[in-house]
Symmetry: C2
Subunit: 755 residues, 2 copies
Amino acid sequence: METRNLRRRRQEYGLLEANQDVEPSKHKPPPSMPILPTIIFLMSMFIFIIVVLGYATTEKTAINDLISRRLMENIDVDNIKNYLRELTKEPHVAGTDENRRVAEAIARIWTENGLEGVHFNSYNVLLNYPVWEKPNTLKIHKGFETFYQTNGTEPMILPDEQGDPFAGIQWLAWSPPGQVTGDIVFCNEARDSDFQTLKELEINVTGKIALIRYGTGFRGDKVKRAQHEGATAVLLYSDPAEVAAEGIDEDKVYPHTAWMPHEGVQRGSIIHGMFGDPLTPVLPSKPGIYRSRDIEQAKRNGILPSIPALPISYTTAFEIMKRMNGPLAPKDWQGGLKLDYRLGHGLHNDAKVTLEVHSIYETKTINNVLGYIKGAEEPDRFVILGNHYDAWVYGSLDPNSGTAILTEIANSFTKTMKETSWRPARTIFFAAWDAEEYSLIGSTEFVEEYLQMLQQRAVTYINMDCIHDNKTLTLATTPSLHDVVIQAAKRIPNPSKEEQQQGRPTLYDTWYHYYPDEKYKHRPWMKIPSGNSDQAPFQNFAGIPVIDFAFKNNSPIDYPLYHSMYETPFLNEHLVDWDNFAIHLATGRLWIELARSFSESEILPINHLALAEAIIDDYIPPVQQAVNSIKPFDQSAEAAIVQLNDQVHHVQQMSLTFKETILEFTAKFSKAKNRFERRSINDRIMAVDRCFINPVGMLGAPQSRHVLFSVSDKDSYSSRVMAAVFDTDAKISARQISIVHYSILCATNAVKEFF
Amino acid sequence: METRNLRRRRQEYGLLEANQDVEPSKHKPPPSMPILPTIIFLMSMFIFIIVVLGYATTEKTAINDLISRRLMENIDVDNIKNYLRELTKEPHVAGTDENRRVAEAIARIWTENGLEGVHFNSYNVLLNYPVWEKPNTLKIHKGFETFYQTNGTEPMILPDEQGDPFAGIQWLAWSPPGQVTGDIVFCNEARDSDFQTLKELEINVTGKIALIRYGTGFRGDKVKRAQHEGATAVLLYSDPAEVAAEGIDEDKVYPHTAWMPHEGVQRGSIIHGMFGDPLTPVLPSKPGIYRSRDIEQAKRNGILPSIPALPISYTTAFEIMKRMNGPLAPKDWQGGLKLDYRLGHGLHNDAKVTLEVHSIYETKTINNVLGYIKGAEEPDRFVILGNHYDAWVYGSLDPNSGTAILTEIANSFTKTMKETSWRPARTIFFAAWDAEEYSLIGSTEFVEEYLQMLQQRAVTYINMDCIHDNKTLTLATTPSLHDVVIQAAKRIPNPSKEEQQQGRPTLYDTWYHYYPDEKYKHRPWMKIPSGNSDQAPFQNFAGIPVIDFAFKNNSPIDYPLYHSMYETPFLNEHLVDWDNFAIHLATGRLWIELARSFSESEILPINHLALAEAIIDDYIPPVQQAVNSIKPFDQSAEAAIVQLNDQVHHVQQMSLTFKETILEFTAKFSKAKNRFERRSINDRIMAVDRCFINPVGMLGAPQSRHVLFSVSDKDSYSSRVMAAVFDTDAKISARQISIVHYSILCATNAVKEFF
């Protein structure tokens, strides 16, 4: 039975031909690349000697190639499996003893694996917890007559992996405590447009409990909007259309498939509009540092929610919805529950819903774990690889699939170094972030503390939060890194034999197959990194070029068991990556190849010509269109439009100058006579990206400092370019256009030789 | 007669023994150092060869020594004199054709002198002018009966040098046009304490014309305060106590001495609280860049004055004061006019004062002139030497004494390069700024445009606005540069023979003699650079360590003819620096030696241990004292004091850590194996100073970004350390203490090897 469902799931993901009948092979050796360790070792030693004697580029390329292959070979899937099991023994929410034990395990293994300077980087930050002994509950009742009641927990399904008594608690981080009784309004996904629809249908949310479908978008934005509409509490539920698309029969959900079981819920943070410790924006939460606000102020500022919120299962949602009064919800609001979705408010027989949320705010110590491999040539230039390790429960996909892979990458590096006497040219940093789940807190506090050192020394930050699913690579980065990531992805063998058989031999091929760029046909579509993981502060606060990648399905919805207690190693091994962790391996290989590229390239592989072209072709035209669409209502408005057109014209001119200057600059790369001159070139390459930081922050959001890529206040997961230019009441901000102009001017100057 | 007065003036400055009788020698050769050009040349060539072959440090020191001496020898005073005459032929206010001609002359001479890449760096900025054909006038009258009237000009005294028909116009830049009739109140120097005194004496300024003595402090602050008190107009006058201290008889003032003649006035800018173009704060005034305010908004923001203001001579002040009613002014408000100073208001016989100011605001192109000598080793590290060239009239002291010297320094560098085949290791930039007089506009727009390039590449900025007087060197810099400036000053022969005879053979000795540091006995007192000249944006906006130096008298009052039309070459040659420009020469030698030190030192001569010690010993204790002096008025105030004490404690701890870290870092300097490793060390040294920039600006002043050294809003000429910590209504700002803390944390991290 289990096997059949596994098969069905694999078919669903296109990893099995429908008529193929293969048993899952649990411990097959990894799909090995043709390897001849001894010969390669001798060859590489020989070539090293040549290089030491100063022989030139072709030898260097050959070595790079050998090192690349050796690094990929040296990743051991059994290690990844063992690390994963070690890191996911207990639920480990940030700030708990359990999570500290995970941090200690990471530090111990990293040290054993040969990383240098492994240490905790700690901050004291505000967190929020459920009261573990008192689960948060919901009941449907009329006075003392109860029609339905939850016990507030997900049931344990695999006792070996899910044995912790508090693992199942259903909760949302940052919810204030509170008991709310009231009528329900169904708000669909709680987008602005959803509330608009409710208004048009004359359904008032004020004073009601908002029932919201997870769907797409960040849950913190949903709660914020519901609160803004006057809701007294929020229920967030996972609709079967997203999490149990094959039906909710027992044999169609976990543990038989990777679909969500009946009582499963998605946990998560419902903070709004900021990263890091909510009480110390911009500054690191170190002892003696001023807290610029307290919890009540953070609530008043709309950063922490003021109304209780609870995640509920589709089973509970069904119990509520089947009793709901009111008009039918619009057609496109209907979901996967076998009933008519109604808007409310009110339940049959005047029943009410009461939710009871217990929670506490606590200041806790969080610990990022850091370690590095010191660069042989440029120890003060850093390539940073990062992943968070805190989890809502066991976290075997999110995030510890990533942590286990990162840890094994460290191992591969040091093993390769021992075997070859090679050492990376630049320093490679390994970072395991804490409290990402609450609002990227560990990475944000770190970036705030080390802002200047990062801006001076960090070449790139490469984030891999976790493996989400098994269909394809997805990757977000900025235009200037398109080339390097495409080159790297082309070097990684496809983890799916089926895909290989389809004529797609590399990771790149499947990626391109599922995500072709509609405008630029020659490459896969890559979005700009958004606020969804730890790359955000590096990009948006420090102006470091970042990469964020993952393995995923090809749907906008996250994997069904996301943030549930069922993310334990069984899921990775049997329901997501059953071909002996081929996907974990491929992901690690991409990560290590990217790290190697940034560490070893004599001239940094950051192509600002692509950025210049993106600005000219993709970023400025929408501004011009927006200006064109303004309707002048009087003379002063006309004057303003003339001025806006003049500004846009100058930005365009500036962008063309930027492109020209980059072309001239690039032509000089090959003329650099020695590493001293290459350093100077690389300094200038690094300086370009820093120019897109506006240090005062965009539109009063002091942490959103990236002029092009900062996250929109309205959608924390989006990656709309130049959000601040458009995000104003006046539609287009003249000031923001000048800030864009200034950034491009700065970037142009950055690569020039002299003033 | 002239001779006797010259003698008296020189005695006054201590440059002549009272019983000594020496005629001024107009064209004696410069006080030559013992020089044997041929031998030195051969020796230096020989040693160069040795160095090329890789021989070590002692040879390098010897070469540096020879180059240093050669550079100093190669400064030619006759060139300085010629340049000075060429640059001061016409009055050259910023934005005028005359000033453009000066810029063109500079660019031409710099190019002839061998500078590379000489070009204009231009901006379109708001300026303000008098109406040249309509002088600003003042009359004392009763109705149509006029008792006294000015013609609004300084009379020409030396026709050969002062022949321009509009040179004499008396005006203050940024005054709005306007005609005001009213009663006078004497406000002394218009300090806060002066207005406090007036209040205590029940003298109301509202609706009156404020008569203000220049005295000390920035005139823009004076006008701002008078306007704030409700004055309808401002008259700024120069008191004989400051500008004619030997009396106002004809033979005791210019041209017989350097004291101010009867109708002389001090011009100047009365902008308040900002640098640069008033309409584009923070951003460079380039085409297409958004103007964030207009003139009326700048007035409402208190940046541009809303009331007319006029500078008047002591003769005019006498005419007003002798008619004044009202109580006697306090004893310490009495000045050098031979009458009783009264407060007003009202004149005898109900006479009124009417002033009539004509002025226009115009957007003009200003042109900084830039050129450089490309560094041989590190062309992308810049030592910047700067001086402005725009003047209120002819500007032979302020600023073109400096421009002429800077131009000859360029000459000395290129001459030395030709003679020796030596070339500076780092790039030396020469900058002649425009529109400094209006509010440091040229340098500020430049720093705004090239902010990032400066922060990445500028090692230091060394400003010499002008020679003010002839008594001693004065120098403002930050603690980290104390060592290097002292070493340089010790190498420069004393330009005064009298001082040499007093046993003070070097520039340093006289400086130390007049300005011993009262706390640190072993060194001269050096104040922190303030807002008085073009170093301000480099320090306060970009965090570049700066030096600002000058030759001066040893009084807090500026030289008598400051900003008058009598600043023409005669003044330099006959009344200030009559010993064949010995002072111009010595000043140039110091400048060139400082430039050489920063260009040639393998490890940058920036000593952050001195900064750490200043923070610990001098900057933090006043904060602790201020906290100690707060009286708790209730429980929440007590809690706030506990928190402040905790913060101060942590800042102290952080400062000690900073010091320790700097000590460890410094110990590594000698271990650097090659220039690549030294570059990495120097990068970290440079990073330290950038840490003291708070990019959001202090207390709502977006241009005042230096955490330690930003200028106080209340006194633009002051250099109070950490003004923002104290400048708050709450007396001590908890947030600002944390910003100081963060800067020291950043500086500590800046020199560390890894996170």
